[in-house]
């Protein structure tokens, strides 16, 4: 179908030419779903943009060829390429909401493609667009035709993007991280839909993702990329059981899955023994009938509908649920940034829910309850160095000044594994993992008893995620902290938490020890969440050893 030979792409930047893809070769068979897996900067997306010739400004294909049914996509004229895009090869993207024109009706956006490729005339475009919507299983397609992207959910927007991509019956579909930013059950629905459509139409597909588990579940063959080169390719089962290249082994290790411990995410040489920690049988935090109501456009909206749970001293509790389930509202109330409408938040015997969030910064309890935020980049002040960022809570809430302050900051940097020279760098000079460490150092600076972690690894690559998760586990044991870990990733929670709380529509549907909840869920919703999580093939240690030797 598609034969890529020695493809190289480079970008003109201020610091000269940077080669993003360095001689990549692969074949895409008819009817095959090929996965391209790699971490950020591996050149996997750039490869696909090069195939479509939609590289950003400054990007050029330096060498190689990409032959699609006798045409070299590198040398084809721009007008030939316009005919190929959308009609022969089409593409779906990450962040579906921003991938659609925000001020054009979705039906019209589908019509644009149909009309462009002469698959419809002015007269029958509307009908064909509605058919395309029905093909991606959108209910009530006639009404949805007139909707704008902002009126639709993320999953629905991704279906629209699919409808645009598939409207003209292309032969190849390139999916670039199609489920980033979607909930886990939505991810499954979208991926199942895409796979079914590809199979039904006999199309070929390239799935680009950072999630090895997802690729293993949906692809016939996987290509692993690193720094613009293919390091390994093979079928998912053998790639997981006997990864040949060091990098793919590291990637396979770092992918959280059933039956592994958190240390196993790290490369074998970094697996130090787990530090001991103790859970005391007395509650640090008691939440009783917590309720939060927002004033919505059409009447009040109940975000949290009277939930209750306990968190014990030293425990690590996972709070899991999909977007809109109220987990963020709950964590914001617990960290006292938001006032509850009703209910109690009892921290060490004191109802801190009754203290207004506005004045909580001046409360001595402020130092006891801290938070690590979701986006390591957005939660750091871009004009503060790491040192200033970590110093901020110490200056406000502790008496440390001058020399003692800098000693404490360096102590914290060592604790979170941040090299000391990086303390004087600004966020844009740090990598994702380093920024996460700065955020964690800031949160633990005051030695809090209770730390709330809001998806702290969501924006990180899996290998970095593995390191950060292990760091968090060690810090908890060293400092005797209690964690509330908010996440949508059940695999991560399984590794990190002793106790899991599952939320849906503002209510707790299930809670219990994580081993029980994960293996024998009682509630159908928990079951659905578990089913939706991609299940990477299990790794066989014996084969691994054979592969190494």
């Amino acid at each position: 179908m598609l034969s890529v030979q020695n493809l190289a792409v480079s970008f003109q930047t201020r610091r000269g030419e940077v080669e993003a893809v360095r001689g990549v070769s692969f074949e895409l068979e008819k009817g095959e779903i090929l996965g391209i897996v790699g971490e950020s900067g591996s050149g996997k997306s750039v490869t696909s943009y090069a195939l479509m010739r939609i590289l950003d400004a400054g990007g050029t294909i330096k060498r190689g060829s990409a032959i699609y049914s006798g045409i070299d996509l590198r040398r084809a004229s721009e007008s030939d390429m316009r005919d190929i895009r959308g009609r022969e090869i089409s593409m779906i993207f990450q962040n579906p909401r921003s991938a659609l024109n925000p001020i054009r009706k979705v039906g019209h956006q589908i019509e644009d493609v149909l009309r462009q490729h002469a698959s419809a005339t002015r007269g029958d475009a509307r009908g064909k667009a509605i058919e395309a919507l029905e093909a991606v299983r959108i209910k009530d397609a006639v009404t949805r035709y007139d909707a704008y992207p902002f009126e639709l959910s993320g999953g629905m927007c991704q279906r629209i993007v699919c409808a645009i991509a598939l409207a003209c019956n292309p032969r190849i579909l390139i999916a670039d991280e199609p489920t980033t930013g979607l909930d886990i059950t939505t991810q499954k629905a979208v991926m199942d839909l895409v796979r079914d459509l590809i199979r039904a139409r006999g199309m070929s597909s390239i799935l680009i993702t950072h999630d090895l588990g997802l690729a293993a579940q949906y692809c016939d063959r996987i290509v692993v990329m690193k720094d613009g080169e293919i390091v390994e390719q093979g079928d998912p089962a053998s790639l997981f059981s006997t990864p040949q290249h060091v990098y793919s082994r590291k990637l396979v290790d770092a992918t959280p899955r059933a039956g592994e411990t958190i240390r196993n995410l790290l490369p074998p040489e970094d697996r130090s023994p787990m530090l001991p920690y103790a859970i005391e049988d007395r509650p640090l935090l008691k939440v009783r009938n917590l309720r939060k109501t927002y004033e919505g456009k059409s009447g009040p909206v109940e975000a949290v509908k009277g939930i209750s749970f306990d968190i014990k001293h030293g425990q690590s509790v996972g709070l899991v649920g999909e977007s809109g389930c109220g987990k963020s509202t709950t964590s914001e109330i617990l960290v006292r940034l938001l006032d509850p409408t009703d209910g109690e938040v009892i921290f060490e015997g004191e109802d801190i829910g009754a203290i207004p969030a506005k004045g909580f910064a001046r409360n001595p309890r402020r130092a006891d309850i801290q938070m690590v935020f979701q986006d390591a980049t957005d939660s750091l002040n871009p004009r503060h160095t790491s040192r200033q960022t970590i110093a901020e809570p110490l200056k406000r809430l502790s008496l440390l000044r001058g020399n003692k302050l800098s000693v404490r900051i360096e102590e914290l940097a060592v604790l979170v594994g941040l090299p000391l020279p990086l303390l004087d760098r600004f966020p844009h000079q740090l990598s994702g993992g380093q920024k996460a460490r700065v955020g964690i150092a800031r949160a633990i600076a005051l030695e809090p008893k209770f730390l709330i972690l809001d998806e702290p690894t969501a924006a990180l690559d899996v290998s970095i995620q593995a390191v950060v998760l292990n760091l968090l586990v060690d810090l908890r044991a060293k400092l005797g902290m209690t964690y509330l870990f908010v996440s949508h990733d059940l695999h991560v929670l399984r590794l990190l938490c002793d106790h899991v709380i599952v939320m849906k529509d503002g209510e707790v549907v299930e809670q219990g020890p994580s081993a029980n909840v994960m293996t024998a869920p009682q509630d159908p919703y928990t079951q659905a969440l578990l089913d939706a999580a991609p299940a990477p093939p299990e790794r066989r240690q014996d084969l691994l050893l054979a592969g190494v030797s």
């Binding site: 939609i54 024109n101 054009r104 007139d146």
Partner: protein
Amino acid sequence: MLSTRPRLRATLLRILQAFPVVVGVVVISFVLTRALPGDPAVYFAGASADQESIEQVRVAMGLDKPILQQFVIYIGDLLQGDLGQSLSTGRPVAVDLANRLPASLELTLTALLLAIVIAVPLGVLAATRPGSWVDHLCRVVVTAGVSLPTFFTGILLIYILYYLLGVAPSPLGRLDFIYLSPEHITGFYLIDAALVGDWETWWGAAKQLMLPAVTMALFTLAPIARMTRAAMLSALSADFIRTAKAAGLSNRKVLYSYAFRNALLPVVTTLGMVFSFALGANVLVEKVFAWPGIGSYAVEALVVSDYAAVQGFVLTMALLFVALNLCIDLLYTAIDPRIGFLSQ
């Protein structure tokens, strides 16, 4: 159906919001003019007036009454469309403004139209070809536009086109004395002349209008071109442009239906601001070209403490701005379907 009702609501709400602003404008224009330095009674009583005749003038003007009472009288007059009597021209302020406002508006609108016609395509072209000669031209025009004051470009244009080349008519008002001014219908000479079919007068008025309009256009096109370029650049780097390209849409479609429509919002905002300061910047251009506009009228009135005229001017301008902002907000609603959804 999904989107029309909240948008309609937002539109009506926005129109209602204009009313309190108008009330505020009336109060502020009254208070501001009372706060002007100088005593109008002393001025209008004349140089040789004694204390008694000054007092007489004061009583005649109603300035001896308490300020609240003056305000009530002012509101009463205002409701009848009476803006008071200009003490320097001796005519009702409303009549003066009705004569002079169309002159200013005609000049500003023509200049703005000229600026849009040049600046928007220039900005779009510059954004689509960054680093090309169009981009550099855009940069030069923008820099020149903001750095050359209008009185300078005005005089320069007169010097070259009227004095040296003789292609432009003498810069003296709205119409050369050989023409009769057209019948007063809207007050806009171009429209009035066209309505009665007097094309000779139309041409005469257009020739007079050209130089001052070009002067103002040069000044106003800079921010428009700059904003169009920036908005287009950010729209073109958006994710949905990549989707559109990957779907094989033609460059034309990507550029106009996708990028340009999304870039319109900031451009419209800039247009509103440019229009506002163009009306203000009018005074200099009107002085240079002896244009009988509202700006020169206001300056003359201000100099002689003709408070009724100043008050009328401030009120008119403020109402104009309120109307302008209303139009721009309504234009937003037309361009961006998200407005009604978010503004509740």
